[in-house]
């Protein structure tokens, strides 16, 4: 048995960034969900960016994580943006029939941060 791989979560301003660089096991996925929820609550971040540009497959379990993270962050009044989804992954998800619920998406990190900034302006706190 290998241990749980903890995905590092960076804080940039009031945005949390998790960049997924490993082949995710289901328990890594669950650990990331927990870590993010704790960190949002602790920091009062208004946005979460999940960078999946290094991820070469997203199955329904990982896809559900995006939706869950988005729903959880919403409870803390934070928006979630998934950035960098590869074309092959996107085509596969469409075929799989997966929708990402509340999750916003952007081509890259820069555009993802822009979306969060825009959403933050619309609802000033």
């Amino acid at each position: 048995m290998t241990g749980v791989e903890r995905i590092p979560i960076l804080k940039i301003g009031d945005v949390l960034l998790a960049s997924i660089q490993v082949d995710l096991q289901d328990r890594d996925v669950l650990a990331l969900q927990e870590d993010l929820a704790e960190k949002i609550s602790a920091t009062g971040a208004h946005g979460v960016v999940l960078d999946i540009s290094a991820v070469d497959i997203v199955d329904s379990f990982i896809g559900r994580m995006f939706a869950t993270i988005a729903a959880t962050s919403k409870l803390f009044d934070a928006h979630t943006v998934v950035v960098g989804m590869r074309p092959a992954v996107a085509i596969t998800l469409v075929e799989l029939g997966l929708t990402l619920g509340e999750v916003r998406t952007a081509l890259d990190l820069e555009k993802g941060l822009a979306i969060l900034a825009e959403l933050g302006e619309q609802a000033p706190r």
């Binding site: 943006v81 998934v82 950035v83 989804m85 590869r86 074309p87 092959a88 996107a90 085509i91 998800l93 469409v94 075929e95 990402l100 916003r104 998406t105 952007a106 081509l107 890259d108 555009k111 993802g112």
Partner: protein, 284 residues
């Protein structure tokens, strides 16, 4: 028939003894149907090499062209067939190269200059028929490769992804869309979004004559995949009869943005990215 023990033909001796007249007559016979599209010198070089390889195989005692002693002859014939196929020669023009040796050999035996009789003729006949078939298969395989390459090139050629504006890409589709081509377009467009960072894409189908259910589904999936990646995709230029087909097939375009023309789609994309197009005199 493969070489059993106790084979009693003298084919190797015959090929050795008659090599000079045989090779010359072979080149002569093989050159005729090619009508000068291949120089005699080049042909002679090819056939000399082949003659040596066949002789080596025959000398081993084996009469099975799939066996190891014929490996070189097979390789040479394979290359020769591929070159002929690519140069546009017909299957007959290619296979005649092998069968011409048979004729040259029969003529030689008939003249009774270097000996040889029925056993040699039968053995040579079987051997060269086998090599002839081998040539034909190699030729067919090479043609298939050519066709595959062309099909791929055609796909590439007919699906350009063009940049219309900063952050706006377009794919103008022309002609008949089939499932395979639509899939290629889909992948190429999505790749281009990543490479250019463009957040808007327009699929223009003004030049498309017909769509079937599968193609319409592929277009829809492209739009949905682009959305998952964080880009917005618009379909423009749907002709009236294609619109009817789409409705008739019961395909839901749902909340996908469609525009009548490429110009409308571009205006829409620009507006979405915060650019407004106004004529210099102030009128739109």
């Amino acid at each position: 028939m493969t070489n059993g023990t106790g084979r009693s033909d003298n084919l190797a001796d015959l090929l050795r003894a008659g090599s000079t007249p045989l090779a010359a007559r072979w080149v002569e016979l093989a050159a005729a149907p090619l009508k000068g599209r291949l120089s005699v010198a080049e042909l002679a070089r090819e056939l000399d090499e082949l003659y040596a390889a066949i002789l080596a195989g025959v000398a081993s005692g084996s009469r099975d062209i799939q066996a190891e002693p014929y490996a070189e002859a097979r390789a040479l014939l394979g290359d020769l067939s591929r070159r002929r196929a690519r140069a546009g020669f017909t299957p007959s023009e290619t296979a005649i190269g092998v069968f011409a040796l048979k004729q040259a050999l029969f003529e030689l035996v008939d003249r009774a200059e270097v000996g040889g009789g029925l056993p040699e003729v039968v053995a040579a006949s079987q051997l060269l028929d086998g090599l002839g078939l081998w040539t034909f298969e190699a030729y067919a395989k090479a043609r298939e490769e050519v066709i595959d390459e062309q099909a791929e090139q055609l796909l590439e050629l007919t699906t350009p992804v063009v940049k219309l504006w900063d952050g706006v890409l377009a794919v103008p589709l022309v002609g008949t869309l089939d499932s395979a081509r639509t899939q290629v377009v889909m992948e190429k467009l999505l790749e281009s979004l990543v490479v250019t960072g463009a957040a808007h894409a327009i699929i223009d189908i003004t030049g498309v004559l017909a769509v079937d259910t599968q193609v319409a589904q592929h277009l829809l999936k492209t739009v949905m995949a682009a959305r998952l990646m964080g880009a917005e995709c618009t379909i423009s230029g749907i002709r009236p009869h294609i619109a009817q087909t789409i409705v008739g097939l019961g395909i839901e375009f749902g909340d996908i943005t469609t525009k009548a023309s490429l110009a409308d789609a571009l205006r829409h994309a620009l507006r979405r990215s915060g650019v407004d197009v106004i004529a210099a005199d102030g009128r739109r």
